[in-house]
Subunit: 577 residues, 2 copies
């Protein structure tokens, strides 16, 4: 269990602070994560890695010469926000563009994808790639749905070495994809992990059993078996991975492979070596030549007791990059000429923020938007506990807290924007970014998208009309559908957002005023939220507990309905925007 | 707990095999441990480190350029034998002499000390040094009694860097001593460790408590306290270590120090970083400049949950060596030019053994010695379980098993010696070496010394007489007293060996035959063994349980009495040697 912490809410931040204090030769802290503390190579592609905390050395421990240029570091087991990724990317990039690498998890895909959009808009060519090495997380015909586990390392290492070699962004992206195509992992877990301050493990495995294929956040595995001998585990690992050779390799014999035997938390080095002894024997028997094996901790899951094996099928190009020197806090290989330290004057973010010019009418409308955000915060505050309770039925119970964090940050940002004289569009855009940044998780990202979509139609010049707002909500729905991946009926916020957007558009089409149309749409939203109790979840965290969650509405749907109701109060009082 | 193993008896060997398989660029296996797999520098002092297994990366993970030249690796938590140390030393040395470094534990002091004697006799200049950094294990006025914990690393690192810099054996020894003088550590444990195959932890700490100063094999600490916050632990560590500045340093402010925050097993990197954050703050507040901090696992104790802090007070010389580059499997620093791989033809130990010429009479006496060893093995076998039971009262219950391992190995070696035509002296010397090598632990080493002492007086030429044997036993007693550190009355085998030696000398002095004198002395031994039940242990593992052990005789005393009784049977039948 995790014993050493102060305030659990500060844990991830304090980890980062201590990590940086101990590794100043390698890294420096920037908002959102860390970047190398060595001089940049102008024109080099910046390879950034990232994800939630609790997986050390992933991700911050993998920043340094020959490996990542920076790491974006989220809260414990929670993906970082797009804003964090943008911040780290701007600190790390040196004119060659940015490649964002992460494991294939919904939250990470969402936030890093959003970050790439923003960075590209801002003139920094950016691409993303999600690692999918875990063979247990989907069948081979759905390979793109697989999760990323310790194979993160092979993809990160090889892409970064390609960047160091001077390849272009497109080429580095191609190398990452190629490495991922040739990386396969399988993991097992013997016990769950306990997060700082938690009373009980996040998940459990029966004593004497192991969960075959359990994910690094406790995602369900494919089998439960008795804990085998060390040799037995080696045999399971090697047999499973040799049974799925990557495309283009017809037999293992004669191949060369990188090997990672990864401890997931509390399995000790001694145990890993005993397992590796047999892994090496089995690979030799199969005619596979092992190149630069790694035995230790690379992608962990706090104090989870478990281990994974990764095979990385090399060709000439991949082997060159796999064997290239690297010097990161937690991963070092070969010998390289140390780069000089970074200049001290790394641009910081203390420049006074400014907002675009805005019309009188738009500034007036901004006051209404701020009032709506304040009403939102109030209704979220009043219902946070209930939202948490609903979410706990099939999720991790943090929906209420996340919404609170988001709403508070949005109101703060909106007030600051108002102080600077922002129009309605900019005010709402900044509020949405702050929401996504602070709320974390998938719902935080989706709320950020939704608010930004409405903000885009509001703009900073015209006086917003009912039609403008209705268009914005429709655009928000489209973003949420596209990025979130949910369809109506999947038991998500979409089940409220879609009928609400339609009802609002209908009302405006019937020439009703915004306040009236919004009020009718809010009633529709209310009914739709209640109706989600009858649905079965099809995506996201709730899916594994699908049966259990029937009878309880979706927390995201309920919070959306509550918020549109609260906003109606503001619009009714002010008779529109 | 330790879950991944095969046959627990093979665990330490299989760890070593897997470790070497994963790190062929750095190390190669030799009998007794590992040596660097890179080319030697002729004339360089070879710095060897060692101790029991279960402390990875200590000791094998610390072998490589800029760090140790080799590691001697014992069984789990058991010191390696002098024979192992000699084997590794011979493989590692390159003409500059050998420095053997280890933590200050009785078994290690004994075996490495013995190895140094042998190596020096064989013309390889060898010195030893025991690390004593653990401030909790003895008061400052008994500083040489302190145990070695994570401060092993500072001493190993600095001595090895001095060797790489070309210093002489005396100088490297001086640097090691100087580093040890300026190294201080304090550790805490939250839970015990479970060895492979064991049903229960080796020791326990009450839930929610921590043992302050508990040793890395569960040695008792100085205090039990509630588990503090991460900041609270940092404060305890720093406050305690700043309260004991090394000689010559009057105030901390303005000093430069190396820092090691060491995880002892299952405390995770994330937790260590949170603690380190506060350690760094506190040291900065105290005006201490931190140089090259290390946060991770350096000296562990299997899956013990615990951590330790080490401060290493630098001067110009120590800082130069502390910051010098190193490249070992588990410790890397800076950038160095890789040495070429070692030549393939490392001398191996497969040369047929030969024995010195022996007289007819001595060869005849050798048959009696062999018979005595066979009788010893038989009586040990028959009483192993009971010896274990007695030992478990105040020790770890392995006395019976250790004696069995030793006696079996001694008989095997003696038979082989007889086959080669050895005289009585050589046969018993080889048997004694084999005993010490296989039995392990302190009692194994003492039995090896005892048999070697008798062997030395027997020689390979003269026909042994009662006086020869009596002199040998007296010399053996002297060795055991000198090396083992026990006095009569301390409740050890000495309480039997001393009266036995005296009674034997008296009997021979009275012109009795060996068989008769031995028989009377054996009766004395029997009485003395029983009488140890009334004694209170003063040294060794039994000391902390002193009260509990009163009423039970000492296991080492009982086994010695049983053996002299069994040997009497052989002498009586053969009427002397």
């Amino acid at each position: 269990m995790t014993r050493l912490f102060n305030d659990p809410a500060e844990f991830a931040d304090e980890v980062l602070e201590g990590f940086v204090a101990a590794h100043q030769r390698w890294v420096r802290r920037v908002p959102g994560g860390v970047v190398r503390n060595t001089a940049k190579t102008p024109g080099q592609v910046a390879v950034l890695v990232g994800g939630g905390s609790g997986h050390y050395p992933a991700f911050t421990g993998l920043v340094g010469q020959g490996l990542a240029h920076g790491a974006v570091s989220g809260n414990i087991f929670a993906s970082p926000s797009a804003q964090q990724a943008c911040s780290v990317a701007k600190a790390a990039e040196s004119g060659g563009g940015v490649l964002l690498l992460f494991g294939n998890y919904a939250g990470d895909v969402l936030h890093f994808g959003h970050a790439a959009e923003i960075l590209n808009q801002q003139g920094i060519p950016t691409r993303t790639f999600a690692v999918t090495d875990d063979v247990s997380s989907a069948e081979v015909d759905e390979i793109t749905k697989r999760r990323g586990v310790a194979g993160d390392l092979t993809v990160f290492k090889v892409a970064a070495a390609a960047a160091e070699a001077g390849l272009s962004l497109d080429e580095v992206h191609r190398v990452a994809e190629h490495a991922n195509d040739r990386t396969r992992s399988l993991g097992v877990a013997f016990s769950g992990c306990t997060l700082p301050g938690a009373e009980a493990p996040l998940f459990t495995v029966p004593e004497g059993k192991m969960a075959v294929g359990m994910g690094i956040h406790g995602e369900p595995g494919i089998d439960e078996a008795d804990v085998p001998s060390a040799d037995g585990l080696a045999e399971l690992f090697v047999r499973t991975l040799l049974a799925e050779l990557p495309p283009g390799i017809t037999e293992a014999r004669g191949q060369r492979a990188g090997v990672i035997l990864n401890g997931l938390g509390t399995v000790k080095h001694e145990e890993l070596f005993v397992v590796y002894r047999r892994v090496a024997q089995l690979l030799a028997e199969a005619g596979v030549e092992v190149v630069d094996p790694e035995v230790g901790e690379f992608v962990t899951s706090f104090d989870l007791a478990g281990a994974s094996l990764t095979l990385f099928w090399l060709d000439e190009e991949l082997e060159r990059y796999w064997s290239a020197p690297a010097d990161a806090p937690a991963f070092r290989k070969g010998s390289l000429t140390p780069a000089p330290p970074a200049a001290e004057d790394l641009a910081d973010d203390t420049v006074e923020q400014s907002v675009p010019e805005a019309s009188e009418q738009s500034r007036a409308a901004a006051a209404t938007v701020l009032a709506a955000l304040e009403a939102t915060r109030k209704v979220v505050d009043g219902n946070a506990e209930e939202l948490g309770r609903i979410d706990a039925v099939a999720g991790d119970g943090d929906h209420g807290i996340g919404m609170q964090r988001g709403a508070v940050a949005a109101v703060d940002a909106a007030r600051e924007a108002q102080r600077l004289g922002a129009g309605a569009g900019t005010l709402l855009a900044l509020a949405g970014d702050a929401w996504a940044d602070r709320a974390g998780g998938t719902s935080g990202a989706l709320w950020g998208l939704l608010l930004r979509a409405v903000a885009n139609t509001l703009g900073d010049n015209d006086e917003p009309t009912g039609a403008t707002v209705s268009e914005g909500v429709a655009a928000g729905l489209e973003s949420v559908l596209r990025v979130g991946g949910a369809q109506p009926g999947d038991k998500t916020m979409v089940d409220v957002l879609a009928p609400f957007a339609e009802a609002l558009a209908t009302g405006i089409g019937e020439s009703r005023g915004l306040a009236e149309a919004w009020g009718r749409a809010a009633e529709t939203a209310d009914v739709a939220a209640t109706a989600t109790a009858d649905l079965v979840p099809k995506i996201g965290r709730a899916r594994p507990l699908a049966e259990k969650s029937v009878g309880t509405p979706d927390a995201g749907a309920v919070s959306l309905a509550l918020i549109v109701g609260a906003v109606h109060g503001v619009l009714a009082e002010r008779k529109g925007v």
